[in-house]
């Protein structure tokens, strides 16, 4: 079963973190290790970090079908910072991975305990029986 783990960050905290170098490096190493572990456990489908929201554009088709682009809505409180798609045995395993990502260290090495949204990825038709 595949799950998407979405790391949402509060807009108020958006931007490049200004932590001390050692803390930044610890954070980067933590995420790097997590991804490597997931690859080695044969569970990682994909993992991507997204650019900061100032690069985001809202796109809508106009009457003629041509794209109309706009900046992002300022009122949204959260933005998607990155995501993982994992292929795991159980939802509990997906939650455990999400908790690992959530506990990535921040300033001073304290766990960030970020909110990670976990949702099943839709699949094909279910088996007819059993």
């Amino acid at each position: 079963m595949k799950y998407m783990l979405m790391m949402n960050t509060m807009r108020a905290e958006a931007g490049v973190p200004t932590w001390p170098r050692a803390d930044l490096q610890a954070h980067i190493a933590y995420m790097h290790n997590l991804n490597r572990e997931l690859r080695q456990s044969g569970e990682l489908v994909s993992a991507e970090g997204l650019s900061f929201p100032d690069r985001a554009r809202l796109v809508q088709a106009g009457r003629d079908g041509a794209p109309i682009t706009d900046g992002i809505f300022p009122e949204s409180k959260e933005f998607l910072a990155g995501f993982w798609i994992v292929d795991v045995e159980s939802p509990e395993r997906a939650y455990a991975i999400a908790a690992r990502a959530s506990a990535a260290p921040g300033a001073g090495g304290a766990p960030l305990n970020m909110q990670i949204e976990v949702r099943p990825v839709m699949g094909g038709p279910p088996p007819e029986m059993l």
Binding site: V45, G123, G124, P126, M129
Partner: protein
């Protein structure tokens, strides 16, 4: 490395041959070197070489011998570098070098090797996804890339999954030998379950756009055929094969042009594969003649009753009901109760079916599962209660993680809503097809 003997051109049959040889070759190499994990890698390498070379150079006169030779050379390289590594680390000479007699090369074929592999790959210590991946590679002779593609994960991820699975086998110290008859009976259900999961994964991923992907349902049928040939007296294997054939026969009819699900009672039955149906029926007869009735035989028997009906109205529901009642006694479970309720509704009326479903309301195994709501919706529709039917169909649609199922349930609800609006505006109400 290339064989100068007589060669044949490469075609689909040769590809199948290559896959069938994989477990035999692996059996020989793993037994000779007493190292399943490395042997499995060596055989995978040999298979890849064959996939590259044979289509161009033709199939060697003795394909099995060719593969054993290439895999054994590869094993020797691994063993040598392992010895060198240990010598570097410990500076102590190895106790003994593994001996390999060239004369033995092409002779020691053991028909039980494939069975040994199957029991090893489907060992209960392994997680289901691990067992599936390893079975497809070691017993099915598929490449890692093909398996990764079938499960829509990156090749590197699948390679790691397989490699870790082999590590678990190594750590669990499962010996490379055929389980005793008693162990075999204990472990066969796990083997059959893995084969069934491969089949149902194929079913789940066989929607039109994915046609270029490896056909896991056909792979599962091929593997199960192979297992049946090795254990011909086992009724449950025959039952499982019958179930697969009887289900797969409906393949062309079960999805529409937009990949939408077409339920059994709306399928164009002329699209069912007669040859496969016939084979499934014969297999089922054979299975049932062998005594003890198990889970797969019962499921196959139910599939057969559906398949025997030329039109949905001709379905022998009393017989299906009797089979589900037997199923509830042999192997009870919430899904069986659910299907039993449908059969009750078809025989005695939807209100009786709905009554059967009440028992499932507090069943934690079904908590949050869409099937209960979907079946309720269906039974309310039969009852002519569109309001409740629409509500349950939509609840089910919100819960399912299957995209085609969701589309089906939403469409069903929309259809009922339109129909009830039309009838309330004075137009004639459409007759229910059930």
């Amino acid at each position: 490395m290339t064989d100068s003997g007589t060669t044949k051109p490469w075609d689909e049959v040769s590809e199948r041959l290559l896959r069938e040889l994989a477990p035999q070759v692996l059996g020989v190499v793993a037994r000779r070197f007493r190292d399943f994990s490395s042997a499995e890698d060596a055989v995978q390498d040999a298979m890849l070489s064959a996939f590259k070379q044979w289509p161009q150079e033709g199939i060697p006169e003795n394909p099995r011998g060719w593969l054993i030779q290439v895999a054994s050379r590869r094993m020797m390289d691994t063993v040598r570098s392992e010895i060198a590594r240990r010598q570097r680390e410990t500076a102590i000479a190895p106790e003994e070098e593994p001996a390999i007699e060239p004369a033995e090369m092409e002779t020691d074929m053991d028909p039980e090797d494939t069975l040994v592999l199957l029991f090893m790959c489907c060992h209960p210590v392994l997680s289901k996804s691990s067992a599936i991946a390893l079975t497809l590679r070691a017993v099915g002779g598929l490449t890692t890339a093909e398996i990764a593609n079938a499960f829509m994960v990156p090749e590197a991820t699948m390679a790691q999954r397989i490699s870790r699975t082999k590590q678990s086998i190594k750590a669990s110290k499962v010996p490379f030998r055929l389980p005793t008859p008693q162990e075999r009976m204990q472990r066969l259900p796990a083997v059959l379950h893995v084969l069934y999961l491969i089949f149902s994964e194929g079913y789940a991923s066989s929607a039109g756009a994915e046609l270029q992907r490896l056909d896991l349902a056909r792979e599962a049928i091929r593997l199960t055929r192979g297992v049946r040939a090795l254990l011909p007296e086992n009724a449950e294997i025959a039952g499982l094969l019958a179930l697969m054939l009887l289900t797969d026969a409906r393949r062309a009819a079960r999805t529409g042009p937009q990949e939408e699900l077409i339920p059994l009672d709306k399928q164009d039955r002329s699209l069912w594969d007669r040859t496969e149906l016939h084979e499934g029926m014969e297999m089922l007869k054979l299975a049932l003649s062998k005594g003890a009735v198990g889970l797969y035989q019962l499921q196959a028997a139910i599939a057969a009753v559906h398949d025997e009906a030329g039109r949905p109205e001709e379905t022998d529901w009393p017989q299906i009901l009797a089979l589900y009642e037997l199923h509830q006694r042999v192997a009870p479970g919430p899904m069986v109760t659910l299907n039993h309720a449908i059969a009750v509704a078809m025989v005695r009326g939807p209100e009786h079916g709905l009554e059967c479903l009440l028992a499932l309301d507090n069943d934690e195994r079904l908590a949050g599962h869409y099937r209960l709501d979907a079946v309720r919706g269906h039974l309310f529709e039969m009852l002519g209660d569109s309001g409740n039917a629409i509500q349950h169909y939509r609840t089910a649609a919100a819960k399912t993680t299957s995209l085609p199922e969701q589309n089906y349930l939403m469409t069903r609800a929309a259809h009922l809503e339109e129909a009830s609006k039309e009838s309330s505006s004075g137009l004639p109400a459409p007759q229910s097809q059930r």
